[in-house]
Symmetry: none
Subunit: 217 residues, 4 copies
């Protein structure tokens, strides 16, 4: 029996607990500094068990990674469906909101994402970067193209560049949110939601209209 199967055969509650602890550990310490010792101690199970289930520390990370990818995919699919009929800038707004919601519901997963971006020694990093790139190529580019076609965006826009610009700005917006809000403690309170919503609106306006004034060069 393959290691992965071993894990899948466990009872649901135990699987969930292991997944939770693993996500937390990798989010807190990255891959190499994550400690299987710590995990099994927190789980109250024998060290050998983890290796029965996953074969190696890396095998455990695979589980965590694919779980995370699945969550992100699900979230993106929903936004895409829900905003199919709306105009470009509303779609950007909704995407940012969805991002905020995701971070709020899965902060540890988002932490792992942040770690993987600039820590070279993560397993599956190549696949991860490909997935990230796909977001820009498969999600944002069509959005921009549709926006240009409907005349909601300037017709002389460099689509590639615009997609990168959006990717950059949105990603960084979420990063800033994650760092400034989540470090403080926990989830979204009503006041913060309003604050965030307002920020998103201003953000979208900057994207739409730029910063230039009358005397702009």
């Amino acid at each position: 029996m393959l290691p992965r199967e071993r894990f899948q055969n466990l009872e649901s509650q135990k699987k969930q607990k292991i997944l939770d602890v693993a996500v937390d550990e990798f989010a807190s310490h990255g891959f190499r500094e994550a400690s299987v010792n710590r995990m099994v101690q927190r789980l109250g199970i024998a060290k050998g068990s983890i290796f029965q289930y996953f074969g190696s520390k890396e095998g455990l990370f695979h589980l965590v990674f694919h779980h995370a990818v699945e969550l992100v995919r699900h979230s993106l699919r929903r936004v895409k469906q829900d905003t199919a009929e709306t105009d470009f800038f509303e779609r950007i707004r909704q995407s940012l909101l969805a991002g905020i919601r995701f971070i709020d519901q899965h902060p540890r997963v988002y932490h792992i994402y942040l770690k993987m971006i600039f820590q070279e020694d993560f397993p599956l990093r190549a696949e991860f970067l490909k997935q990230v790139h796909l977001f820009s190529a498969e999600y944002l580019k069509p959005l921009v193209e549709a926006g240009v076609a409907r005349g909601e965006l300037r017709s002389d826009l460099n689509v590639e560049m615009a997609a990168f610009f959006l990717d950059a700005i949105m990603d960084r917006f979420l990063q800033a949110y994650a760092v400034s809000f989540l470090d403080a403690g926990a989830g979204l309170y009503q006041a913060q939601i309003e604050d965030i919503t307002q920020k998103i609106d201003e953000f979208v306006r900057l994207i739409r209209d730029g910063m230039g004034g009358d005397n702009a060069a």
Copy 2:
């Protein structure tokens, strides 16, 4: 005598070599995975010496960190001086170019910056984040305010937000540059410089004029 002083008393060449090797090690492996063993081996000095000079691995990192901060400060001061008379968008352009140049000249330092952003267990991380924040507050905000004052930027601009927006977009631009170009190997060739310059121009235009078309909501 305090550890730090011991280091300062060394001859200049030795100090430089220790600094170089340390920067390289922390850039390549982060803090915890950086190995004092490897460093002393490369330096050809005794392991004990490092602890005489710096007291601990963390003490060594302090040196590296403050060295990096100094480099960044220096670079920013120069751009500020050189562009004092130019208009807002040209200043952004020059800032981005300066960023590219910095990464090109100090790629290992930039690597450490990238690692520190999302790896919680770096020493001095709180101070680091404060410094990063200062960039936006002390460097970009005045820039935006001046731009608004001269009418180069819209007068209804939320200065705070605009500074964050700029910070985000510029940082991400440099990150993308660092990943796509430096991974490949080494420094800037002429062809790439032209490519980069052109990209910067388009970028600045997006910031100035936005993406909105005639039908924008």
Copy 3:
């Protein structure tokens, strides 16, 4: 029910497969490094089953060992019968050929024999050494005695010593064969058989006539 009985009650095919895999594992890795994990994986049965059948890893080795002893006994009995009427040196020749054939047909069993000779931590090692000793006492000594009686061997021969001498020389001949031929890959090709046959002939002549020349001391 005793463990051993549990195993004997299995269907013949399964028993054979378990035996084969166990022989292979012990031949490849010795006793302590042999892995029950690997065996059950190759067999496609549950790990617990091995312990139901044999009680322990050592119990499993007992099966393998006695199986091997049986094979050797059977082979020796046949040679003895087939060469009952021939002269001493032909019997030695036939014994060596039978040895070669045995190694060729049961290379893994011979590997286990080689491992057991000088690895002290094999179970059953005392019994094994006794069996090996019996070969010399029960098989070779009568051979020598008969040879002396028929005048095919010198009458002043120290029988004990001659048996040991034969044992040594024959065993080492087979070891050399096993190492040089089996390492290369697999069974006996015609060319090799001729080569071996010729070597055996020369060998037997050395045993018969010695090395001494006219000036021998």
Copy 4:
């Protein structure tokens, strides 16, 4: 500083003790089953020290191996010199005696030799087998050739085969000595020396005159 140097810098007494314990451990358990844990426990030093000195368990074995090779080389050189003027069979006699003496003085080293012959997973095994082969090629073949030249050996002798024959028979003689005498306990008592000497004499006579009687086929 290279690991090996680290060890050489230790004080002589400590080096000797480490070497002794290592030889004993590898002789008793082979390579893979030898336990660094056990060794440091017996030595009363920290586990890390072994890895400072040798880099790895394998590095430690290298020391042991090359130490053993040196001992054997030294012993062979002496026999060669001491018997330069004597006839062939006396040289064989002296070689066997030297072998007995070696086993008696370095029984653990001889144990390692025995283990390496048929345990495939020893480090340096290829080099070891080459060394063993050299014994036959560089030591025994010249002996046989000289014997033939002086007429002490039959002129029609196949030199290659004769060397192999001698190698086999001598090696096995020593093996038998090692197993039967050393397992019992310790060194050579006078009675045993006489016994051994007598056995060697008979052995040499078998080699010289063969076993054949008047009726030999």
